[in-house]
Amino acid sequence: MEGTTTETSKLQQLWELTAISDVTLSMVIMWVVIAVLFYLAVYKKYEPLLLIPIAFGALLANLPTEGLINQPHGDHPGGLYYYISLGVEYEIFPPLIFLGVGALTDFGPLIANPRTLLLGAAAQFGVFATFLGATIIGFSPQEAGAIGIIGGADGPTSIFLANKLAPHLLAPIAVAAYSYMALVPMLQPPIMRALTTEEERKIRMKSLREVTRLEKLIFAGMVTIVVILLVPAASALIGMLMLGNFLRESLVTERLTKAAQNELINVVTIFLGTSVGITMTGDAFLNASTLKILGLGVIAFGIATACGVLMAKLMNVFSKNKINPLIGSAGVSAVPMAARVSQVEGQRADPGNFLLMHAMGPNVAGVIGTAVVAGYFIAWYAG
């Protein structure tokens, strides 16, 4: 910085201020991956609310940034995402998202037809099958658990569990979970049709009874108590889900319900998405693991779909009141897309058949089921 520096050294100095020399090949490759994610999110509308923040976070992660992710040292504060990412690391954001999800969810169809809880349970077999596959192809048990949960089709739960069991796989797991959730309308129908007969697809289900406010409130309290007693490690997720639902169904806390449904969930979604994306560095993402995870994710979705359908068929063997097996696939959650798929497939077989509300039962049961599985894995490994 002396006044006598020559022109050359000044240019050099200028060059050193830039970070062009810090660009690595893996960054450039990641830019292509990120462009694909942006394309899927913006033009294909694959869960854009989360994929866009994730992809933008990934863009920041694959640039030679300064003051964005560094740890604090001495008097110097940490980077912005050092602080925001604490919300993921301390496991605060996913339960807050669940608070909003609970405030947005109507458990009425499930309460009116509680048998469908079993369909939501059956779909979780996809999680365990994928867990097995993942251990076989070489992932550690903890990693396998975090990968398997992709089959639960529940974004916040996947992020919650991955952060706990295998934080180094957070990015590919989140990307797989949200991408496949968006692909549900393509992944599920072939499996559903292969496993059902024309007659089964035409089954009409009797209309659901009305559910009163008191029953919904009791349900929220009961799920909280039963799940926490049986799988205490799921406390944070189930507790917040049901708090949001209780606020919603109480009908006397409109202000708070709206806050959970909007302000809270929107702001946390921006922070959660970018925090996840910012872990998506080339080193962490561009390796065989990611490809394996993406592959296992498809398998997880397929098995979960199949198990839901087969469980519905099994229940029909024992029950007089037949269930249309097409609603079994909705047990993977991916609310409300999986339920819409059931409706569409049902109408393809019989245009007068309305399965949407029936499919919402296993659909929301799948959310509870996946939280239970996550709690089980945490109890097994992280305790």
């Binding site: 009874r209 009305e210 009961m222 799940v227 509870i368 089921g369 599985v373 089980y376 894995f377």
Partner: protein, 133 residues
Amino acid sequence: MLESLGLIGTGFAVVMSVLASLWAACSVIGKFFNRPKPDSTSATQAAPVPPRAAVASRAGVPPHHLAAICAAVADTFGPGYVVTRVAAPSHKVTEWPIEGRKDTFQGRRIRRDWGPTRPTLGGETPNILRGQQ
């Protein structure tokens, strides 16, 4: 591997038993809520129209409206459909009218002349204050 199978067996058992417990609990609770209408489990197959209509009527829908609606449904869908519930379209009371009313009550600004109050460009608060400023 065997360990994994153990984990899977236990895990799937846990999930099934948790959700089955919830099913059981829901059914038991549901019984209490369904009891007042003992015929409701077989309603869609065989429930005669009049009792239902009476129920709906009890809920505030005038019987002659109900009759007209039932006739229209029968004409449109053909036989096999039973009207089980009649309700006016759901007019959810959103927060906005209520908030608007609150705003009115709070009445921070009062129009002091007969002219209309218009939003200004740029969203500034219009210069119509309660007091003389």
